[in-house]
């Protein structure tokens, strides 16, 4: 086992009982923060990809083998029972030929990392391998069904699934926006052409009872003293129905 992997393993045992369950990206970041190190400190593969993510995956594999950890999709969970302080050997009777080959290569080259660029060599039924592969595939989630390159990609089905999820989320957001615009339109405000300044902090919108007469920044209508309105920081005061529409558009 490399020294870096051992450091990561020790850190995981130290901090994971307190921070898990967590998404893998957050957990990896927590390791770096705890060690006060950056990804760069763990070195790079010849392809300039940082080694840190792979080292984490290997450490997770070890912890999973000892039963200390489990993973569910992108989420890492801590099972809470430490088997041994010393890393237990990974008894894997189903080790694939590829994994065995990699281990042999690692022994031969004394920890020197071997770059395997052909994605199809990976066993995609292994969750860790899949996570690693997805992390290094920049176009993941952008599948074009008719593209022969995409069709030949081993991540084709997962990629289509992800794209579907993001499209669904986009669709929902679009529907919410249309609904809010429609409600505002019924109240007499066409918000579709209103240019919201980038500075506007819609998520920090606060409801207020106007203590003096002012003007709606969107409709230019007067907002009278005592009227309930919204203040959108770094933009201005808006009528209640307009504020409600913007809140709905932003899922607030």
């Amino acid at each position: 086992m490399t020294q870096h992997k051992q450091i990561i393993l020790n850190t995981m045992r130290e901090i994971f009982p307190n921070i898990l369950p967590s998404l893998l990206q957050e957990a990896r970041q927590a390791i770096l923060t705890h060690l006060n190190m950056s990804k760069e400190d763990f070195g790079f593969y010849p392809s300039n990809k940082p080694k840190f993510d792979n080292l984490c995956s290997e450490a997770v594999k070890t912890l999973k083998a000892t039963g200390e950890m489990s993973t569910n999709g992108w989420e890492w969970r801590w099972n809470g029972s430490v088997v041994s302080e010393v890393e237990a050997p990974t008894p894997n009777t189903n080790t694939s030929e590829m994994e065995m080959k990699m281990e042999v290569e690692e022994d031969l080259f004394g920890g020197l990392d071997i770059q395997t660029s052909n994605a199809s060599l990976y066993d995609l039924t292994c969750e860790d391998t899949l996570i690693r592969l997805v992390a290094t595939t920049h176009c993941f989630g952008k599948v074009v069904q008719s593209d022969p390159m995409c069709q030949g990609c081993p991540l084709f089905s997962q990629c289509s699934e992800r794209k579907g999820e993001s499209q669904q989320a986009k669709k929902q957001a679009k529907e919410a926006k249309e609904e809010a615009l429609k409600i505002a339109n019924e109240a007499g405000y066409d918000l579709s052409k209103v240019k919201v300044p980038k500075s506007a902090k819609i998520h920090e919108t606060t409801q207020m009872e106007s203590q003096s007469d002012t003007t709606c920044v969107v409709s230019n209508e007067p907002i009278l003293k005592g009227e309930i309105a919204y203040h959108i920081p770094s933009w201005g005061v808006v009528k209640k129905s307009i504020g409600d529409a913007y809140k709905a558009m932003n899922n607030i």
Binding site: A200, Q211, S212, D213, T214, H231, S234, W235, G236
Partner: protein
């Protein structure tokens, strides 16, 4: 919305939100929003617009100051960048520019109306700067105050230092402008303090007893 309209709207939003007028932070001269806190205005109204208006305002005032500095005009705000420790860093106004006794360029008399530090430097040892809000107002007020106070500051009168009110002394000269300033600058007096030292001050630094 222009700067005036933005400020008007910010005032109305602040009043509607808090029930009190938008506070004034500093003097209104050389300030894009008449001395009101810029960050507060940014949080009340269109922050992007406020930022761009502040940038435009500073750009405008900078080019105005650069034009003044190119002729070493009296009243140009400058910073002393070279010279002894005492001089370096002074941020004042040119109160007089004249040919030096020797060497090239011009000799500048620089006065900081906020700290009353002053010095004479070569123009090449200065650079133009943007005046602080209210600073140019203070300069004008200082000129006016010195002119009106001058007849009252006569030899023998007892005075105190405004900054250290218990420091007492008496005037050992009448109020007059420095000879080397050729009629420019502020009226000043020599004061002998009770401690025995004698120093020179412009009239706005002192209180008559």
């Amino acid at each position: 919305m222009n700067r005036h309209e933005i400020l008007k709207y910010a005032k109305s939003v602040h009043l509607a939100l808090k029930g009190e007028p938008l506070p004034v932070e500093c003097s209104g001269s050389d300030h894009p929003y008449e001395g009101h806190n810029i960050e507060l205005i940014q949080s009340l109204v269109n922050g992007d617009l406020v930022k761009s208006q502040v940038r435009d305002y500073e750009k405008g005032i900078k080019s105005e100051m650069e034009a003044m500095y190119s002729t070493l005009m009296i009243g140009t705000p400058v910073k002393v960048t070279k010279g002894s420790k005492d001089k370096r860093g002074i941020e004042g106004f040119i109160i007089h520019a004249k040919e030096p006794l020797q060497g090239s360029g011009k000799a500048l008399f620089v006065y900081d109306v906020l700290t009353h530090k002053n010095c004479m430097v070569r123009d090449s040892a200065t650079k133009v700067r943007i005046p602080k809000p209210g600073e140019r107002n203070r300069l004008t007020e200082t000129y006016l105050a010195c002119d009106s106070l001058a007849p009252h500051f006569t030899m023998g009168k007892e005075v105190t230092l405004k900054e250290v009110p218990n420091k007492e002394g008496f005037l050992v000269s009448n109020a007059e402008k420095k000879q080397q300033l050729d009629g420019y600058g502020f009226q000043e007096v020599a004061v002998q303090w009770k401690s025995g030292e004698t120093t020179h001050h412009i009239l706005t630094e002192l209180n008559l007893k």
